[in-house]
């Protein structure tokens, strides 16, 4: 019995030594793993979706491979509704290897604005959740996560129609000039058309017009839409139905009163 007990003791000791050596070396090798997060880029892809791109460079100088490396980001609005999420996964980063990944997260602007027009007219903050997970030595799962906010600039910030200016056009029609003002706070240039439909106080459509809009990012825009209306239909008050269409997104109509 003594021999068998001794053998159990030797086997246990060997396993303990192996386990402790592995755990210590795995922890120690963490200091030799280097992560470099590059400058995030944002651009529009071929489908006119907004893409945020984050380059990540991982240099594994540790003693072991890193397994199941993944980067996850989730963008949500102020009330926690998920707008978009993206995951980038690498099965193995071998020891001594340098790996560069490009983590992309795509936002469909049409969906974003369609769900909440607040994004169109008001600057706000988007909530962002980011997590980096991996398995040290392909065995020990580790995850770091963080929450932060990202400013969202409204593409039609402070959109307003000025007082309509009436001028006679011919015997039956008048020209109504409607000033348009807004600031493009978005990180992309805005190019599209603004359509205006004019309704009188009896809610009758009396005319419509449109104008092409081009507003660079972080710049104000001022323009005029000319609408030709039947002079007899014009009333002192009424409302405009405003729509905006662009390759990036379409929105409207929204109602703005006049008079």
């Amino acid at each position: 019995m003594r021999i068998s007990i001794r053998m159990i003791g030797i086997a246990t000791t060997v396993f303990w030594v192996f386990l402790i050596a592995f755990a210590v070396s795995a922890v120690y090798s963490v200091k030799d793993v280097q992560f470099d997060f590059g400058e995030p880029q944002s651009y529009l892809d071929s489908d006119n979706n907004m893409v945020f791109s984050l380059p990540v460079v991982i240099f594994n100088r540790g003693y072991y491979n890193i397994g199941f490396f993944n980067v996850t980001t989730e963008i949500s609005d102020e009330v926690g509704g998920v707008i978009s999420q993206g995951t980038t996964f690498i099965p193995v980063i071998r020891k001594g290897e340098e790996t560069t990944i490009l983590h992309n997260i795509t936002i469909d602007v049409t969906d974003l604005i369609g769900e909440n027009q607040n994004f169109l007219f008001n600057d706000t903050d988007l909530r962002m959740y980011g997590a980096v997970g991996m398995r040290l030595a392909e065995m020990i799962p580790v995850q770091a996560s963080m929450n932060f906010s990202m400013p969202w600039g409204a593409p039609l910030y402070g959109f307003a129609l000025g007082t309509p200016q009436y001028s006679p056009f011919n015997a039956t029609h008048s020209r109504v000039s409607v000033p348009i003002n807004f600031e493009n706070h978005a990180f992309f240039d805005l190019a599209g058309d603004i359509q205006l439909s004019m309704f009188n106080s009896a809610d009758q459509l009396i005319g419509g017009g449109q104008t092409a809009v081009a507003a660079y990012q972080n710049s104000p825009y001022s323009g005029i839409v000319d609408i030709y209306v039947l002079t007899t239909g014009v009333t002192a008050s009424g409302h405009f139905d405003v729509s905006f269409s662009s390759p990036l997104f379409n929105c409207g109509p929204w109602v703005i009163s006049y008079g």
Binding site: M1, R2, S4, I5, I8, G9, A11, T12, F15, W16, L19, I20, A23, V24, S25, V27, Y28, V30, K31, M139, I140, P141, V142, Q143, A144, S145, M146, N147, F148
Partner: protein
């Protein structure tokens, strides 16, 4: 009278030998800890309480080891060895909080899942406990039948 003196002298030598053996074992164990603790520096920067936790473990383990060594040849040795094995298991389970470590630094949350490590370590601890029980049974067996060795 001469026999009593000889027995006393023999007992003293045995005790001295046990003390020296316990001291050497304790010193070796502490030396290994001292050597390995240098490798744990990266994690101690992240977890300030981690080194304290390991130090407490090492101190209690060495104390139990020394007491077990001093009481070797008696039934108490097996009690202390069993206590040592149980201490390893319970300390791992309690200090590693089920194997999932979570901590927050400012805005960043870090999670380390050591459940696999904990499971293996607990199993090895249980094997150590089983070995101690077998040793105690063997000891009692030898006491009952001195010729049956």
């Amino acid at each position: 009278m001469a026999d009593t003196n000889s027995d006393s002298h023999h007992n003293l030598r045995r005790l001295a030998f046990k003390i020296v053996k316990a001291t050497i074992k304790g010193a070796i164990f502490y030396g290994i800890y001292f050597f390995l603790s240098g490798f744990l520096t990266p994690i101690t920067e992240l977890l300030p309480g981690f080194m304290q936790m390991i130090e407490t473990f090492v101190i209690i383990y060495i104390v139990l080891m020394i007491i077990g060594e001093l009481t070797s040849g008696t039934i108490y040795q097996h009690f202390f060895n069993a206590a040592k094995a149980l201490f390893v298991i319970s300390y791992l389970l309690l200090s590693l909080r089920g194997g999932v470590f979570g901590m927050t630094f400012e805005n960043v949350s870090l999670m380390i899942d050591l459940r696999l490590f904990l499971m293996i370590a607990t199993l090895l601890g249980l094997v150590g406990l089983a070995k101690t029980v077998l040793q105690a049974i063997n000891y009692m067996n030898e006491k009952a039948c001195p010729t049956n060795t």
